[in-house]
Symmetry: C2
Subunit: 230 residues, 2 copies
Amino acid sequence: MVLKLYYDLLSQPSRALYIFLKLNGVPFQQCPVSLMEGEHRTEEFKQKYSKFQKVPFIHDGDFKLIESIGIMRYITREYPIEDHWYPKDSKKQAKVDEYLEWQHLNIRLNCSTFLITTWMNPMRTGKQPSQEKYDSSKKYMLKSLSTFEELFLSDDGPFLMGKEISYADIQAACEIEQPRLAGFNPMVHYPKIKTWIELVRKECNPYYDEAHEMLNMLAESSGKSTKAKL
Amino acid sequence: MVLKLYYDLLSQPSRALYIFLKLNGVPFQQCPVSLMEGEHRTEEFKQKYSKFQKVPFIHDGDFKLIESIGIMRYITREYPIEDHWYPKDSKKQAKVDEYLEWQHLNIRLNCSTFLITTWMNPMRTGKQPSQEKYDSSKKYMLKSLSTFEELFLSDDGPFLMGKEISYADIQAACEIEQPRLAGFNPMVHYPKIKTWIELVRKECNPYYDEAHEMLNMLAESSGKSTKAKL
């Protein structure tokens, strides 16, 4: 029975997992879920698909699993995956894990909070955030991006783990693309991030662009409407 | 060369890792770092010990690693660890990972934010949080605790992964003990959490109590001073 991936390409970890599966030729059934249309919020969805009501998740036969990073690890055990994505060498794997654990309360939390505060909530409620909330969410995002550049984009690069690309690069890139939806492009402000993300994109294409197609489209119109503000 | 663990027992992931190493008889050198005294904030600390300036972390010879969950995985590869803590079976391991990934932006984020808002910031600045900030941080913490009970403390228990205790239980218990520092005891409000955490404590003693000694002492005095408020 083929692996089923439930995802929304507007979700950062959904894109990361989608790109990873495609790059490695893992066969999977594409099961898109529209978060914007609230498809995940129904009782039927909860009972039938996932009690967690978030994406991405997989069904591998009867086995259900959420959380993109845990899913990536499961996939590396179950399918033939090129070693550099998540190395078997204990110390190298530990360094990939280090980034993947660190990012939750840094890059992921702070880029997402900025997006929710300045784009998703206003779209949902019709109300703009207070100046205090806007400034605070932007401040934490900028701090995370600076820390990311300082701690992970070192001279040992060009990738987060050095000479070879790993899942940490895909995960990080998909998160850092996200604030573009709210009209803020980290690549404009952080030259090291720009150089690195262009390399990740090149390594992951055509799937990187495929996964970011909708985001690129929305970011373009969002960029125009919020340019004055940022 | 013996493994060095740098930790502060007032940090939740430090306690989890300390308990795990002790329970499994992993030999390590105890290197306490006082976060309250800001020992991690100096330039010397950054250069000599960890550029991340947070705990816990390990030095295994020349190899430096942060992030408790990544460290736990590294330890299971490098030392003889009882399988139930982080099972080798692919699906069982994936379910432990599922919790360990999920918790970052749920239990960990929301219990910590409550603590920072209502205890750490007031201690640092001498100013109480606004009612709005207090209510908001409490609301999200309560929501996370309810979701935790609903999604992870099912009838298949008594542990998060079923019949056997895993690292997910230690990690979760250490996070859920934390708001007691701010005078809020989840065990009083969530009977399923109370039953489960008592069992985790029993399985992990004497190290559970040893790791929580300072927290228990501070929580008792904090409980007295904030009882009226909560």
